[in-house]
């Protein structure tokens, strides 16, 4: 087995070019190196001008999402040896505007996140902190826990063809986070989130391609969250149609 591997990196430097170009780098192939370790080697020893985001290197901060050999993935969790003999193609996450090299603009998601009101909404009986915790059994926590594991890495948006074709789509992670709060027994804000979610760009924009769930590194299953909400939304519409006043 050779001890070197080539990284083919998609560069984009707005001050010198109008379109991305490819640049190849040869890095050591160590058996415990991730693609991120390869990129760090490039930056430290071969080309200091390569820009990319990274932080925790343990798959929890969500910074290092990129496209590796066509698949959106966390580069800190992707072993170089899994892509040998190479060359390994490394590009920025798809479906987002590219700011520079492997850095994309995720502000669209940040705006959508606020719109789904991802916080505990209490309508009435707000129990003061001095009276202790809201009781929540392990079974109740199970209802939403999976959806709370989202690290906001944006890999699901990169995988989703609907988002790729239509930037208005609210998207997998935002809807999964809305569900995380809707299904939390302490929350009373499902009504507040209704408008954003039952909009054509909300859950109804989703055609259940299922790529988001396949690509998600944290098993959040956003596709499942969205389909469940479609059922909730449909039931809700039916109820308010049949019992216009009684439904509230």
């Amino acid at each position: 087995m050779t001890d070197r591997i080539t990284l083919q990196v998609e560069r984009y430097r707005p001050e010198q070019e109008t379109e991305p170009t490819w640049q190849s780098y040869e890095v050591p192939l160590r058996e415990d190196w991730s693609v991120l370790d390869g990129l760090n080697y490039v930056k430290d020893h071969l080309d200091g001008t390569l820009s990319y985001r990274w932080s925790c290197r343990m798959g929890i901060c969500g910074s290092c999402g990129m496209t590796v050999d066509g698949d959106p993935t966390l580069t800190c969790a992707e072993l170089l040896t899994d892509h040998s003999p190479g060359p390994v193609q490394v590009g920025p996450l798809r479906n987002f505007p590219v700011i520079r090299d492997l850095v994309v603009d995720i502000d669209d998601f940040m705006h959508k996140l606020v719109r789904v009101k991802p916080w505990i909404v209490r309508e009435d009986d707000d129990q003061p902190v001095s009276e202790g915790e809201y009781l929540q059994t392990p079974a109740q926590m199970d209802e939403y826990q999976q959806y709370s594991m989202c690290i906001n890495c944006m890999i699901c948006y990169a995988a989703c063809p609907v988002y790729g074709l239509d930037e208005q789509f609210v998207g997998p992670a935002a809807i999964a986070l809305a569900q995380r709060y809707n299904l939390d027994s302490r929350d009373q804000g499902a009504r507040d989130r209704l408008d954003v979610l039952i909009h054509p760009d909300g859950v109804w924009g989703c055609t259940f391609v299922g790529e988001c769930t396949r690509a998600c590194p944290k098993d959040v299953d956003p596709a499942g969250a969205i389909q469940r909400y479609k059922l909730t939304a449909a039931t809700e519409s039916l109820r308010s149609f049949l019992l216009p006043r009684g439904a509230r």
Binding site: Y12, V98, I99, D142, E211, G224
Partner: protein, 134 residues
Amino acid sequence: MTQDTYEPRPYRRRISLFWWTERRTYLVFILRELSSVFIAWSAVFLLLLVRAVSQGSDEYAAFLDWAASPWVLVLNVIAVAFVLLHAVTWFDLTARATVVRRGGRRVPTWMIAAGGYVSWALVSVVVAWILVGA
């Protein structure tokens, strides 16, 4: 440009018309969606069959001749393939979207899908008995 006025220009990649050929899963998705056309065709074919039956044995024989012509045959073979794809993906998707809890744990997806297939089989047996047996 001075540092005070510089605004970076982000690059927006254009999605190709053939985006769905880039991944196997995207292709299967498009075929799955396309299968609805063939579901519609199967429904139309069934209605035509029923109408032919109701119009008497001559019309029925003429219909069967027509149904045996090459292009209708090919179309129906393709339709059966797509109907099967539709059914299999339907059970798979429904199972993944259904969350049922029993005894504190989520019922696994394969069980829900299995339930779907079993129901399908039972209904098919009943329909076949009505049509053929009785």
